[in-house]
Structures are given as structure tokens and as C-alpha cells.
Symmetry: C2
DNA sequence: TATTGTATCCAACAGTATGTTATTTATGCA
DNA sequence: TGCATAAATAACATACTGTTGGATACAATA
């Protein structure tokens, strides 16, 4: 069992200095998974499918990943790193820009770039673990914002409930966007989302979102 | 291929007058699926698992269902019928009751009854199709409510977007409830949910929800 | 450029789940 | 009680999985 490490070690994805062959193989495999998922849904994709499409021997797949879930998992890690780094970079640039929360806009732009993939993965032919992780990320982005609104209404809903409410609501907005082929710009959607969130749970999305 | 019919024909689930053996077998199979799903997640459950647990021969399974997805599908149909019928019955009884929307309370009480199952199915080890269908049901329940609020604000978010927002938000509330082992009553949760929905997208959940 | 470590390919393997079929057994129903 | 049919049984080809040992190709160094 070669690829066991990937489950244990939360290895820094320093794929940069790695063997060219390794990077190429991994790239082919994840691209194949994405394409196949869009075509026939995540559940229907087999390891054999992936390796055939990627033109990589099947045994090579198992050298890198435990199974297709592991492949997706590692990909999500990489994307997460990428996104949070982007947010950080943009943060300074955009501080004085418009009112639309830049971190959110960046996230939406990334999603737009892989719209087909996200549309499938968050839909009926996607993966429940992916959805769950997406939800958790959403919750984390909102968490620190909600802490600042001290609700003094005694019979108001609990903080964690409102957090779950607004996080899932945000996913609902993104789903609407994806399922309707992004009928508006990322900036516009970010505005609407922050408007709705503000009125619903009483928070204001800041111009720049936190890294975590 | 025996069970193909179930995919085509949206047969009225008049399982009442059916052969005792059939009803018993179907009951054992769905109960096995539910128990196994709670134990090890939906994806990990095999047809062999189900039939073994249900003490039914594997070939018998295929006489009734195409696969485990079909089994779940048909079960969801039955539950749906049950719920909407309950809502209809309760509608008259509860019209003059409290302010909490009775249809919503009934739904929540049903979910509470199978809390373990719903917690798993809507979580990371659930089924994306189940989640999607749950979302659609939620959307349908809200749809007619939102039509009554004619937003005259020109740059407000589209109706369908708000619908998706509030539907997913409702699921978020239910998820919080399930993941925290229902720390409050169904009535209390219904109140909070309708409060949040009212302030967020400007609608009021009526005392009785529509059947469809 | 030559060397070398290692990533990839190749072929083969047992194990497991699937979906289907033909036949026999049993059991609910009228 | 007899009949219709549901369920059990056994067998089958097919497909995917996860793993292995050895041959081959090649990227990264010196």
C-alpha cells in the first residue's frame, strides 16, 4: 500500500519541486476525474475510467492515491490552499476598492472557472463529502463575522443555528448561480448574497474575508 | 429484468392490498438499508449487505428493485406521500392552534422520528440525490409563499435566487438540529426557522403549508 | 554526457459485488 | 384445499478492485 501516507500526513502540497513525471501524472489524473465527473457523475466514475482517460497505467494510480475519494480529497486541499492564498493577496489590493466583499468575489470567480465541475459536484450526481466540506468552509468564513453581533434578544435563535442557516443559504445562492449558468457577474452575486445575509441574521460581510 | 417498471411507472404506492409476502419483504429490505446506512454510510452499503441483514435472498431483491438507489427512491416516494397526507389532515385540526406553522412542525416531527437516518443521509456519508431531492421539496414548500411578496425594489435579488437562498437555509437549520441531537422541540425550531426566513427574504410562513 | 534513482508500464492475481437466469420450494389467498 | 406466485437456491459471466514482481523509460543530478 503505497499511498497510505496521504491519509495520515497532512503534507504540505509542495508539488512544485517534485519530479516532472509525478506532477504530470497527477495533473492528468485529476483532470480526467473532473472531466468524467461532469460527463457521467461522480458515483459512476471508476478508477479504470480515470486511468484510461488520463492515459496512465492503473497501478500508477494506486501509487499516488488510495482511491478516487482520496484523489478528490487531495485536489480539494490544493484548491483550498490556492483560494486562501488568493484571498490574502487580493486583500491588500482591494481594500479600498468597491463595497463588494473581495474575498467572496474571488471565491465566486474560482467557482465560475470550474462551473461545470461545481455544478455537478454540488448537485444530485455529486459527492456528499464534497458538499459537506463545502458547507464547512462556508461556515468557517461566516463564523467570525457572526461573533461580533451580540444578540441580546433572549428568545432569539442560537448563534450556531444562525451560522448554519446563513452558510447553507450561501450555498443556495451559489447553486442558483450555477444551475442557471451564471446569469450575473460574480460581483453582482456577492452583493446580493451579502445583502440577504445582512438582513437575515444581522451581520455585515466585511470588504475582506479572513483566511480561515 | 423484473423491477424495471419501478423506474418508468410512477405507480401509486397502493401497497396496502398487496400480497403479505411482498409487503413483508419490502419492509425488511428498507429497514435493513436504513440501519446499515446509519451504521456505515450509504455508499458503503451493498445489495448483499441489505439482503443479508433483511434475511432475504439476493435474487429476491432484484425482483423488487433495480439497485439500492431504486430502493431508496421508492422509499422517498412513500415518505413523501405520507408527509403530504399528514399535512393535509393536520391542516384542518391545527388551523386555530398556535402560531407555529403546523405543516412545518409535522415535517420536523417526522424527521425527528428518523433522526439518525436523516442525519446520516444529509451529511458527508449520505447520498447526493437524497440531498438534492430534499432541497427541491424544501423549495416547493417555499415557492408559493414567495410569490406573494412583490418586491418593487429594482436592484433586489431575483425571486428564484431568494427561493434557493431560503430553501437551503432551511436545510441548514435542520442540519444544525440533527447534528446537535435536537436540542429543542420541533415547535421551537419551526418558530426560529420562520422568524429567520421572514426577516431574510421578507415572507411569512403561514400557519399551514401547502401540499405541494 | 553518463549515471542512477525512481516513476511508470505491464501482466497477472485473488477477492468481491453485480445483475441475470432456470429451477425448485413455500406460502398467502380465494 | 388448490392455485398462483413469491421466495429460495444455485449457478453464471462480467466488472472493478487493490496488490504484486519485474521490465522499461526517463528526469534529475554530478
Amino acid at each position: 500500500m503505497y499511498a497510505t501516507e496521504s491519509k495520515k500526513v497532512t503534507q504540505k502540497s509542495d508539488r512544485a519541486g517534485e519530479d516532472l513525471r509525478v506532477r504530470r501524472t497527477r495533473k492528468m489524473l485529476i483532470e480526467a476525474l473532473i472531466a468524467l465527473t461532469v460527463e457521467k457523475g461522480y458515483a459512476a466514475v471508476t478508477v479504470s475510467d480515470i486511468t484510461e482517460r488520463a492515459m496512465v497505467n492503473r497501478s500508477t494510480f494506486y501509487r499516488h492515491f488510495l482511491d478516487k475519494f482520496d484523489l478528490l480529497d487531495q485536489y480539494m486541499d490544493e484548491v483550498n490552499d490556492l483560494i486562501s492564498r488568493e484571498e490574502f493577496v487580493e486583500e491588500k489590493v482591494a481594500r479600498h476598492k468597491e463595497f463588494a466583499p473581495q474575498g467572496l468575489v474571488n471565491l465566486l470567480k474560482h467557482i465560475q472557472q470550474f462551473a461545470d465541475f461545481y455544478r455537478v459536484m454540488l448537485g444530485p450526481h455529486g459527492d456528499p463529502t464534497f458538499i459537506h466540506r463545502f458547507r464547512q468552509n462556508s461556515e468557517n468564513r461566516f463564523r467570525y463575522l457572526l461573533e461580533y453581533v451580540g444578540s441580546n434578544d433572549p428568545n432569539a435563535s442560537p448563534l450556531e443555528l444562525r451560522l448554519s442557516y446563513v452558510s447553507c443559504a450561501g450555498i443556495g445562492v451559489i447553486l442558483w448561480w450555477l444551475e442557471n449558468n451564471q446569469p450575473c457577474t460574480a460581483e453582482q452575486l456577492a452583493m446580493w448574497m451579502s445583502q440577504l445575509s445582512t438582513t437575515s441574521v444581522g451581520l455585515t460581510i466585511m470588504p475582506s474575508l479572513p483566511k480561515r
